[in-house]
Symmetry: C2
Subunit: 227 residues, 2 copies
C-alpha cells in the first residue's frame, strides 16, 4: 500500500467531503479518513479550521492544512496532472466552475442542507422527528435540479461538456447524499438516472456507497449500482 | 475610451459583484454596468442565469456568459496576466481561496445577507422596519470577523500573505457592503481599519464608494477615505 500522507476530516454524508474523495480517488491520491462531526465544535478541530466546517485535508509531514472543498480541488488540479477535472479552454473551465457553484451552493442550500437537518441532525442531536412539510418541499426542489440535469445530459455526455469534470463530481456528491437521505425520486428522470448510474459503478464511488452514517439507513436502491 | 465589451449585471451593494468589479479594475479590464435586482426574477435575467443571482458577466460580441463570482475571477486570473490575484505556490493559492470562501460564504451568511435582508429588502420590497435584534446580532458577528482580520494583519501585510490577493478583494467587498448598511463598528479594530483604509483609496475602490443604492443611505464615515 502507498504511504498515506493526507488525512481527511469528514463524516460519511458530508457532500463536500464526498466531492473531495471522488477527486482524490480519480487522481489516484491516497488518503486516510478522520471522523469529524463539525457540529460538535471539537476544540482541536476549531484550531485546524476556525470556520468549523468539514472537509479539512491535512498533511502533517509537510505541514499543510487545506480548507474548503473548492480550494482543495483547485489545489490538486494544480499539483497533480492525472485525470484533469477543470479542463479545456477558459470558457469551459468557467462553465465547470459555474456548475460546481450551482450544486455546492444552490442545491446544497435548497436540498442537501435541509435534508441533513431534518433526517440527520434532528435524529442524532435534537432527538426530534423530521418535519414532513420541509421534507416534501426538498423533494420537490430536488426534482427541479434533476430536470436541469436531464436537460444538460440531453445536450452533452457530461454535465459541463464532452468529458467528465469537477461539475459531475460536485453534482454526484450532493445528489448521492440527498439520495441517501431519501430526497430523490428518480422515476421521472431517465437521463439523470443514466448519468448517475455510470458514476455509481466507478471505482472512486463504490467505497462511498457502502459506508453508513451511524443509525441512519439509506433507501434500498441507494447502494445498488444497477438501480 | 476603450471599447467596452463586458456587461456586468449587478446592483450597487451586491458584495459578489463588488469583488468582480475590484478584480476587473485592478486588471485594467473595461466593463459596463447593467442594473439588475435579482429578487425581481426578470425573465430575461432568468434566461441568462437560471440560478437568478448576480453577478453575471456577459460578452455579447464573443457569445460569452460568465456566472458565479468565483468562476468569473478564476476566468480573468487565467486569461489576463496583469495584477495576478491568485498567486504564489499551490499552498498559498489554497490559502487565498480558503479566505475567499470564508468571506463569500461565512461572512456573507452571518453578516452581509441578514443586513441586506433587514436594511435593503425590508425597505424596498416588504415595506417593513428592520428587526433590531437581528441587526445587533449581525454587528456582533461582524466583530468576530474583524477580530480575525486584526489577527491576520498582525502577522502579514495582506490577508493571505505578502501581496494583495483575491482574499483582500473578497473581504473588502463584503465588509464594504456591511459598512454601507451600518453593520461595522470600527472602533476596536485598528489593524483591520488600517488595512481597509488602504483599499478605500485605491482607484479600483473609489467608484464603488460614491454609488448609492436607491433610497438607502450609508453612514457618514462610509465613503470617507480618511476615516
Ligand atoms: N464551502 C464549504 C462548505 C463546507 C460545509 O458547509 N460543511 C458542512 C458539512 S456538510 C459543515 O461543516 N457544517 C457545519 C455544521 O454542520 O456544524 C466547502 O466547500 O468545503
Ligand atoms: N456564489 C455566488 C453568490 C451570488 C449571490 O448570492 N448573489 C445574491 C446578491 S448579493 C443574489 O443574487 N441573491 C438572489 C436574490 O437576492 O434574490 C457568487 O459568488 O456569484
Amino acid at each position: 500500500m502507498a504511504h498515506v500522507m493526507w488525512h481527511l476530516y469528514q463524516f460519511p454524508i458530508c457532500p463536500f467531503s464526498r466531492k473531495v474523495r471522488l477527486l482524490l480517488s480519480e487522481k489516484g491520491i491516497g488518503y486516510e479518513l478522520v471522523r469529524e462531526n463539525p457540529w460538535e465544535h471539537r476544540e482541536e478541530f476549531q484550531m485546524l479550521n476556525p470556520a468549523l466546517r468539514t472537509p479539512v485535508l491535512t498533511n502533517p509531514e509537510r505541514g499543510i492544512v487545506l480548507i474548503d472543498s473548492r480550494a482543495i480541488c483547485e489545489y490538486f488540479e494544480e499539483t497533480v496532472d492525472k485525470s484533469p477535472m477543470i479542463n479545456g479552454p477558459a470558457t469551459n473551465r468557467a462553465e465547470i466552475r459555474r456548475l460546481v457553484a450551482l450544486f455546492d451552493e444552490n442545491f446544497f442550500a435548497s436540498v442537501t442542507s435541509p435534508l441533513l437537518e431534518e433526517r440527520m441532525k434532528k435524529r442524532l442531536i435534537y432527538r426530534q422527528p423530521p418535519d414532513g412539510k420541509i421534507l416534501r418541499e426538498t423533494i420537490r426542489l430536488a426534482n427541479d435540479y434533476l430536470d436541469y440535469v436531464d436537460f444538460l445530459i440531453d445536450h452533452r455526455p457530461w454535465l459541463a461538456g464532452s468529458t467528465m469534470s469537477l461539475a459531475d463530481l460536485a453534482a454526484a456528491a450532493q445528489i448521492s447524499v440527498a439520495d441517501y437521505l431519501g430526497g430523490i425520486d428518480w422515476s421521472q428522470h431517465e437521463q439523470a438516472r443514466g448519468w448517475y448510474s455510470v458514476f455509481k459503478s466507478r471505482p472512486s464511488f463504490r467505497p462511498l456507497l457502502t459506508e453508513r452514517m451511524d443509525v441512519i439507513q439509506p433507501p434500498t436502491h441507494y447502494g445498488d449500482v444497477n438501480a
